[in-house]
């Protein structure tokens, strides 16, 4: 091949490349994998939100990857630790804190500031756990609140027992008295359960906060569950379980084949009168028990403790945000942030964002203003109480070794419930073990 032809080949290649560059869109196409756990009836809703996003971001395509709930931890942690996470991932509040602490996800503070978003639009308890060392890592959707702060009750069964259905129990004492009237037990078999107060560590913490107790001291250095309030709470739970269930095993047997989220829920079947549940219950009530006349009331508090009041804690079990892993191109990162914003913040007429997504499921939004939508009152006549429950929520602080601490509490609360340990003993040991973990954490970062 001669010298000349070599040059012409080069020329041809250059020409070709230039012409192709002209065809390529001015904006580079971005592809975002979005892992989430909004399955079944919520998948088409999510798809609608993604289409809405596409209207403003035609160059971005979002792959909605709905993952299975089972074995979630293995999938999430392997992808994160293995360095191959998706571009946007739904993550629990506890995970967000830990991912942030390890520098695996990007803060969105600068984007939020640039967009001039008003973060006070969220309930304070919702946003608090999205921060880590002065940076915001996500915005919430759905609520982390409304998980422990209220109960749903069957008005008809309450009235049948001679109680006022418009005036449900508001204190531990009323609650106990009502349970006397409602509970029906035949030996070891519970026929009608007045209420399920829960028997694990999370239930204990839920009740603890209605007795003016706390998990940690304000500076997060001390585990405070074995306070007098804590011991009183656990003792009250134990007495309740003995008195009304005839032991923890009877409760387990009663609830064994029921899952909270289906028609098997004993509340829907008239086999349970008062049920502590989270805000997803309203959608399920509409589906499975459309004729049930139900009320919503705040979690009872201990009226013998002058400082106690009804309050919920958020987040205890769940509560989700959306995280963006590090290592994306600036354009992809911005596109991912815009999507997170749509999922969590954007609202308004015809906007299919997080607000709309929650409304479709009859669930409240972490955004205060969204819950003023009159549509909610049509779906749920008890909406004012739901809002009151969300307002009563306070933020439960999260420290990185949270799951270990909650696990200790869980184990020793269960031992107390089985009568193996007294309330005082159980909480003392749990606090001691949890304190050791907490101390180790603080000393490791100092």
């Amino acid at each position: 091949m001669g010298h000349k032809s070599k040059i012409s080949v080069l020329l041809l290649v250059t020409l070709l490349l230039t012409s192709m560059a002209g065809v390529v869109q001015p904006q580079e196409a971005i592809e975002l994998d979005f892992w989430n756990w909004w399955g079944v009836q919520r998948e088409p809703l999510m798809q609608e939100m993604i289409e809405q996003y596409r209207e403003t971001h035609p160059n971005v395509s979002i792959n909605n990857v709905v993952q299975g709930w089972d074995r979630r931890a293995e999938v999430v942690l392997t992808a994160m630790a293995g360095g191959e996470p998706p571009e946007v991932m739904m993550a629990s509040r506890a995970e967000i804190v830990r991912f942030a602490a390890e520098g695996l996800i990007v803060p969105i503070t600068q984007y939020v500031e640039a967009d001039g978003l008003d973060l006070s639009a969220f309930y304070p308890s919702e946003l608090q756990t999205m921060w880590w060392e002065g940076e915001l890592y996500s915005m919430p959707m759905p609520t982390a609140g409304g998980e422990t702060s209220f109960y749903v009750y069957n008005k008809e069964l309450l009235a049948d027992a001679g109680l006022d259905p418009e005036n449900p129990p508001a204190t531990w004492q009323d609650f106990w008295a009502a349970s006397e009237a409602l509970n029906q037990r035949n030996g070891n078999v519970i026929d009608v359960m007045g209420a399920d107060i829960g028997t694990n560590g999370n239930a204990f913490l839920s009740w603890l906060y209605t007795n003016n107790g706390t998990l940690y001291s304000d500076d997060l250095r001390t585990v405070t569950i074995n306070s007098p309030e804590g011991v009183e709470t656990l003792q009250w739970m134990y007495d309740y379980v003995q008195n009304f269930y005839g032991g923890i095993e009877n409760r387990t047997d009663f609830l064994a084949m029921t899952t909270g989220e289906s028609a098997e829920n004993p509340l829907f079947q008239g086999r349970q009168v008062m049920q502590f549940n989270n805000v997803s219950i309203f959608g399920h009530l509409a589906t499975f028990a459309p004729d049930l006349d139900y009320g919503v009331a705040l979690r009872p508090y201990n009226s013998e403790n002058p400082d106690a009041k009804s309050q919920g804690i958020a987040p205890l079990g769940f509560g989700w945000g959306y995280v963006i892993p590090t290592g994306l191109s600036p354009e992809a990162e911005k596109a991912a942030y815009d999507f997170v914003r749509l999922l969590t913040y954007d609202m308004g007429d015809g906007v299919k964002g997080g607000c709309w997504f929650m409304l479709q499921q009859a669930r409240p939004s972490p955004l205060v203003a969204c819950n003023e939508d009159p549509a909610f009152y049509e779906i749920n006549p008890n909406w004012d109480n739901v809002k009151a429950a969300l307002e009563s929520d306070i933020a439960l602080p999260i420290v990185p070794p949270q799951t270990q601490i909650l696990d200790f509490i869980n184990q020793y609360v269960e031992l107390a419930m089985f009568g193996e340990l007294s309330a005082q003993e159980a909480l003392d040991i749990a606090a001691e073990e949890a304190q050791a973990v907490l101390d180790a954490y603080w000393s490791s970062i100092e």
């Binding site: 095993e249 387990t252 696990d407």
Partner: protein, 321 residues
């Protein structure tokens, strides 16, 4: 144990494979044969060795390495010496709980499944009507997908409405709190493991086919009764298969996980917190992968030693034809 096979069929010591085949050919070809003989085995095991080097060696070595660190799954791993091992033996209360739960499970589950699968295989190897149907029925429970199993098993063991308590009730028994009482939860999971004997049965059935029919015919000529045939022919010739089921039973029972993970979550009051569940909780709930690695290394070494011991005893009771 004496050999049931006449010497003529014995074929000599299995370690003498190559040499025993020496044929009256020329000396050189005999020598090359010997040399090739020495290496041919490597060719056979090569595929597995490649898979081992690529996919097993590093992850296993990594577990040993991370056991000396405080790796939190997502963070950096700092070297902390034997701190994880020290914590295990001095501070972790659940370590001992999980060990005793696991030993309890292994002690009952392994002998029960090994023996009952063998008995079942014997029954279904004999000439019975509906042999195929019975074999299929006994294998059926092993086929239920793990994910669906959760619900099915919870229903079977349900205290008030479960089928197991229903049948026990017909026999006049009070309802047993299978999954809600710490007393019964482990027996429940052991009973559940018995539903899976179909797999063991299949392995024994395959093993039974390897026994030359001539031996039985010869024994019948000698007037042996069925029990004598079982003890003198079947049992000894099945020892390699029994050995297999025993070793695999031990290895897998020490890692029992799924049944407790899906049905009890380790409860009530940690009565079904098996060792693997403890490892899992540390790794994927508490994100303490370093500690989980140390727990795993201890399990690995323990099961390895146990396997070696069983293997040593096998020289006395496992008969290879």
């Amino acid at each position: 144990m004496t050999s049931p096979i006449p010497a003529s069929q014995h074929g000599g010591d299995r370690t003498q494979v190559g040499e025993a085949g020496a044929s009256p050919r020329s000396l050189t070809s005999w020598l090359t044969g010997i040399r090739a003989e020495r290496y041919i085995g490597y060719v056979f095991v090569a595929p597995w060795v490649i898979a081992f080097l690529c996919f097993e060696l590093i992850p296993t070595a990594a577990a040993f390495f991370f056991s000396l660190t405080d790796w939190s799954v997502v963070g950096t791993a700092n070297f902390i010496g034997f701190a994880n091992y020290i914590e295990m033996f001095t501070k972790d209360r659940l370590f001992l709980t999980s060990i005793s739960n696991t030993l309890y499970y292994v002690a009952f589950s392994v002998p029960l499944t090994v023996v009952s699968a063998f008995v079942l295989a014997l029954l279904l190897n004999a000439k019975v009507r509906g042999q195929t149907v019975f074999r299929t029925l006994f294998y059926l429970p092993a086929l239920i997908p793990t994910v669906a199993g959760t619900i099915v098993w919870i229903w079977i063991f349900d205290t008030n409405n479960g089928i197991l308590n229903y049948f026990l009730g017909l026999l006049g028994a009070e309802p047993i709190r299978w999954l809600s009482s710490p007393l019964w939860s482990k027996p429940a999971l052991i009973i559940m493991s018995l539903w899976g004997i179909g797999s063991g049965m299949v392995i024994y059935l395959a093993g039974l086919q390897n026994i030359p029919q001539e031996l039985y015919e010869a024994a019948e000529v000698d007037g042996a009764n069925p029990l004598q045939k079982l003890l003198r022919i079947t049992a000894p010739l099945m020892t390699p298969t029994i050995f297999f089921n025993l070793i695999l039973g031990i290895i897998s029972s020490f890692q029992v996980f799924n049944s407790a993970f899906i049905m009890t979550g380790g409860g009530p009051i940690n009565s079904t917190l098996f060792y693997m569940l403890h490892i899992y909780n540390n790794a994927f709930t508490h994100w303490r992968m370093g500690y989980a690695s140390a727990l795993s290394v201890v399990l690995f070494l323990f099961v390895l030693v146990l396997t070696l011991v069983v293997n040593q005893t096998s020289k006395r009771w496992v008969f290879y034809g």
